[in-house]
Amino acid sequence: MPCWYYDKKELRETPSILDGVTFETERRYRKEGARFIMECGTKMGLGHNTMATGVVYFHRFYMFHSFKSFPRYVTACCCLFLAGKVEETPKKCRDIIKTARGILNDNYFVSFGEDPKEEVMTLERILLQTIKFDLQVEHPYTFLLKYAKCFKGDQQKLQKMVQMAWNFVNDSLSTVVCLQWEPEIIAVALIHLASKLSKFTVLDWLGRQPSHQRWWDMFVSDVTMEILEDICHQVLDLYQSTQKEGQEPNSPPQKPPSRADSPTNNKVLSLLLPLPQNSSIVDSTTLGKTKAAPPPPPPLPACPPSDNGGLNPNNAAAELNNIQSIKSLASAVPVETLPPVTLNTNANYHMYHAPPPPPPPAPIAPPYPPPHYTAVPPNMGYYNAGRPQQPQPRYQ
């Protein structure tokens, strides 16, 4: 099984960097590619999982190839195209390209060549080989909701916190955290961040054991505060949209001018901005041309959807202090080696087919059907839990 996680050193020696692209430029390309996928996907009505899967393919792809050899928006289209099929929300290649054309500046569209569809289709096979057919990817969203279901406390505040964490997950796709840590850990980190910022402290949770000191001890093991902070900081750094970015040389591939002149904010300023309703912070603060509005998270059970997941600007200064105090808070927790709840990799496979997993602490049970499950239509090898099946051409 190939490993899709990289350490800091490996992330400094990517094919692009070895190819002469600077570290900062590569990060900017990644961010632009990720946001483009989100924007394109949102316009086409694709779900958050499909978009996130596309973004993860994108990040993985550029651990093997240089941005100089593969123009990022073509790759981005291809990733979204493939993710659509894998997540069973297929979009026609032609339609993705049409949407891309609507988003991208004409100058840029040159990188799609004479025959954009052919360009994307050819890339599909390279993409498949590069990501080694590891098509199923899990995302922090799943874990965010799973963990939040266990939290006790003011439901409205909880909902607000979840909304904020959800936005952070959207934004985290523009960073490389998915190349560094498992989605479970990213979810923990971003809930932690949101809970600091929204002042919803998780004091008690369902399934709490005496050995649990922090709520995430129930779900993940071997997570240090340093890791959590690193994830949070990568996400927070996004809100620091730098002037440098806009001034960087635009080749190769050209950056659409609409994106180049994003407003210049410093970190404090962007944090002072209220979080837009149901929309990713970054998109609204830095996107020039279009505002992508990723869908809100599904409401938690027995908890009405919040209509305000944002920060209160009046409190932002205080909240900034909260961010800075994450570390001090962490060190206040007595550290002891705990019997960890290890990540059950098998459980992931069950979730792939099954409806959302039961909330912990119930053990994650395989969806074992009693005693046999229903028939599959002829020619379908797999049980398919009542999903409508697209007619597919047969193999030849």
Binding site: R125, H372, T374, N379, Q396
Partner: protein
């Protein structure tokens, strides 16, 4: 022999084929050597037509599932090392599924048995491993649908692993068009009668395979659809009027009257527990067949075989 070479991106898909192991309706399986590490592997070549929208969604879903199952590293499922692809000259996509190589399949194994046959301990172990693998597939909502000795591989340590699920399963419509004879011997009656079915078809097949281990020959070696059903009814009894599917044209009266028998009547060497387990697994009524997990909890597996 031409080595397999990968796509233009130069990824490490470097195999040299040694010889053909099997050619089925679906493609060809080769014994091959991984040139990067000398490891011997089995490569299944599958050709698919690219659609207007690239690699078909069903193919992607199935490969994705295969890879995920594989990540569970189940000891009774053949291990998939990697998946490669390249474009052929005719524009079709060749997909190579690279599996661990196992010396023989269960049909070879049975064929090569000494006169004394298989020990009861070995039969019990193979049966347990088969049902454990089936339980694993079923718990991931995969129905194999073509369990038979040729699709069960035996490792050099004598362990059984299930092969040939996933990708191959979507070929059925084409399978009927080819002249390759597909064995009916392990088919459940509801499949032969073109009725709706569920994961219990695998339980039926597993029972046929278990009986074959005892008998060293097939339990229901049918020669045609009708003959296959008739042989089955010889054990289960001819279904009653109320049990006969209403949606098919073939009449119940087309089959001779049969009274139910015991598996033991076909295979006298079965112990009492095995007889009981197999008679449940070979129920005509699919609702009466136990799940793989229930089979594993049967008394037959709870003690030393007699």
């Amino acid at each position: 022999m031409s080595p397999f070479k990968s796509a233009s991106d130069g990824s490490p898909c470097n195999y040299e084929n040694i010889h053909v192991i099997g050619t089925g309706a679906y493609g060809t399986v080769y014994k091959a050597r991984d040139n990067t590490n000398g490891r011997i592997v089995a490569i299944k070549k599958v050709r698919i037509a690219l659609t207007e929208n690239g690699v078909p969604m069903s193919t992607l879903r199935e490969i994705s599932l295969l890879k995920q199952l594989n990540a569970c590293d189940h000891s009774n499922i053949v291990k998939l090392f990697e998946v490669c692809q390249f474009l052929e000259r005719d524009g079709k996509l060749m997909i190579l599924l690279v599996f661990e190589y196992l010396e023989q399949d269960l049909s070879d194994y049975i064929e090569n048995l000494p006169k004394s046959g298989v020990s009861r301990t070995t039969i019990q172990r193979f049966s347990r491993e088969l049902l454990t693998g089936v339980d694993f597939l079923h718990s991931h909502r995969i129905i194999h649908r073509d369990l038979k000795p040729q699709n069960l591989l035996i490792s050099s340590q004598g362990h059984l692993k299930i092969a040939d699920f996933g990708l191959a399963k979507t070929y059925d419509s084409e399978m009927k068009l080819t002249s390759v004879v597909v064995t009916l011997w392990y088919r459940a009656p509801e499949v032969l009668l073109a009725q709706p079915y569920n994961s219990s078809v695998d339980i039926w097949s597993a029972a046929c395979i278990m009986a074959e281990l005892f008998m060293r020959k097939a339990l229901f070696p049918g020669t045609s659809d009708k003959n296959q059903l008739d042989r089955i009814f010889e054990l289960t009894g001819r279904p009653g009027v109320d049990q006969w599917p209403k949606t098919i044209s073939v009449s119940r009266e087309y089959f001779p009257m049969r009274h139910p028998k015991r598996p033991r009547d076909f295979c006298p060497t079965l112990c009492e527990y095995a007889d009981d387990l197999l008679s449940q697994m070979l129920s005509y009524d699919i609702r009466l067949r136990p799940s793989a997990l229930a089979c594993l909890e049967h008394e037959y597996f709870q003690q030393e075989p007699l």
